[in-house]
Subunit: 111 residues, 2 copies
DNA sequence: CTGTGTGCGTTCACTGTGTGAACGTAGGGT
DNA sequence: ACCCTACGTTCACACAGTGAACGCACACAG
């Protein structure tokens, strides 16, 4: 994950889709370690973007829910929009780079 | 620089364009520290992709040239081609991601 | 009512990577 | 003879990320 913000966005996405994920699950889905996942969740909590709720799951076992707060939903939308913008810029840049690369590869081949 | 290989490609590019660059210059152009640049150049040297040559520059001052060897030129072409392939894949992926993001941002806005 | 197993969040010693200030060297300028 | 500058090189340090280990809570079996 390039930026920390990207990581948080992914986390918010995953939690919005399924708040009952365990940190280990989340870690696997995010492609990072449990330690970092825990750290990331704590950051989301500190910002008030998620709240942690105990509940009993289907088998009456204690479990956690990581629920997005209204602020979390807002933040997610805001970050996603900025993320999109950045990706669009990357897209344009990549297009240019590919053109340049094609020329370079062609030039290399001709030598 | 994502992969180490990317860094080496950029270095080869810059050196091919101007073999008389100093390591500090190179570091700045690559966006990394002098230490890492030195390490990177050593790696290129070990692989036989560049050779280091002393010479006197215009003001009769001792200076270094980092010249691509024939193997270096080959390697650069090979890496560039692979790099292009990867970028094309990224381009396609990015396109898909942007579509998904647009939908997500739209959905967020409607809530 | 006790183990025992399982899955949870949490911690932290460790690792690996990158940094850039500091160093030795060599030449130019005064 | 002396500084000054620019070079490549080094290495103590910082920092982020890892994942094995831990304590805890609960379900379940004996």
């Amino acid at each position: 994950m390039a930026l920390n913000e990207d990581l948080q966005l992914q986390a918010l996405r995953l939690l919005q889709a399924d708040p009952a994920r365990s940190q280990r699950d989340l870690a696997k889905a995010l492609g990072i370690s449990v330690g970092r996942t825990n750290y990331c969740l704590r950051a989301l909590l500190d910002r008030g973007w998620i709240k942690i709720q105990n509940f009993r799951n289907s088998r009456n076992k204690r479990a956690y829910l990581y629920l997005l707060t209204p602020q979390g939903i807002d933040a997610k939308a805001r970050i996603a929009a900025r993320f999109l913008q950045r990706k669009e810029a990357e897209y344009a840049a990549l297009q240019a780079e590919i053109a340049r690369l094609r020329a370079e590869v062609k030039a290399d081949a001709e030598t």
